[in-house]
Symmetry: C2
Subunit: 206 residues, 2 copies
């Protein structure tokens, strides 16, 4: 036995959510039907509206329903630094750390020949155009330290090499609160080869 | 910084789903916007339809968009046995075990004076009416073995005591695959006091 067709369709539809399997989807469907129909109806209308209206910022490609996102339209951001990230979530993480006051460019992915994602999909043309027309002096490549992220960064380094720009990447090393015992060999070897004198550490911390 | 107002509203709305916190809701919203707009739009319309159309079976109170659920409308179920459960999910679990061919009555909750849930909310009148008009000979009280579930069962036992019915409950004991070491004292004491001779075990298994 299963539930009635409409409830089964609801359980199936809920599985489009990331990391929701058959059992969680069933629990969600029953809970919404039994206890929160108002919340579910609200969710339905917001979902519909978001999927129809949210597009990309014309300047940095992040997700927004506005023409320009809040960072691109703000007059308070430093226009001389541009940070290239893979996703809107990466952009949010950097914003929440509060260390950065420049602007962003969101690739919405990384180079992945196997998945058919090439330079055209990541807006490299738009990035070059932006660098030509805006007073950017430094580009920080903050792609993820994965194989695909590093490949994407390497490609961008070559692409940008002809422009009169400083191109940097985030420091690699031991994360704060990390334990040496549990770190992978790659991270440890990067941390060793990039080791610093205590003076520099003080400089960085101060 | 946060996302744009519509994306923030979507993240907030997703939190009506059980066990979805702020971080999961954000991941869900971004994933749907970046990769599965078709799925999300479909989910929105099914959600809307389900919340509007799914009601309760007129006979057993389970969730269904039909007048009668598939079990109540089936001619193949044994009309002499009625199993009382707390939720549609409990009903599904019993159905999936395949051991039961009778009908059900779904309380949609359990007695809970603190939460203001009394006999009226659990359809006890409808249950009595059903027992009066249908040829039921045995009522199996399959509420959960929790304090509220046991209280509800006890209340029903008294309510049904005047009717010419056999009233039973599910056996309590060690679950299959359970390890004595990890079982609670209550379960162990029930299993001890209800211990069986090996003949009876063979009877049950056979």
């Amino acid at each position: 036995m299963q539930f009635s067709p409409l409830i089964e369709a609801l359980i199936q539809a809920l599985r489009c959510l990331p990391s929701v399997g058959p059992k969680s989807a069933q629990r969600m469907a029953l809970q919404l039907l039994e206890r929160d129909r108002a919340g579910a109806t609200h969710l339905a209308s917001i979902l519909q509206q978001s999927m129809a209206e949210v597009g990309h910022c014309a300047s940095c490609r992040t997700l927004t329903e506005e023409m320009l996102c809040r960072i691109c339209s703000s007059g308070r951001r430093n226009p001389k630094v541009l940070c290239v990230v893979e996703t809107p979530a990466d952009m949010l993480a950097l914003e929440q750390s509060g260390v950065y006051d420049g602007r962003y460019f969101v690739l919405l992915g990384h180079l992945s020949p196997l998945a058919g994602i090439g330079p055209d999909d990541l807006g490299f043309d738009q990035l070059l155009e932006k660098l030509r027309t805006e007073p950017v002096e430094e580009v920080i490549l903050a792609t993820n330290p994965t194989l695909e992220g590093e490949t994407t960064a390497q490609y961008l380094v070559e692409l940008l090499s002809s422009l009169p720009l400083k191109v940097t990447h985030l420091a690699r090393g031991i994360p704060l609160g990390g334990e040496l015992e549990y770190l992978d060999g790659g991270t440890l070897s990067r941390a060793f080869s990039g080791r610093l004198g205590f003076a520099s550490v003080k400089e960085t911390n101060g």
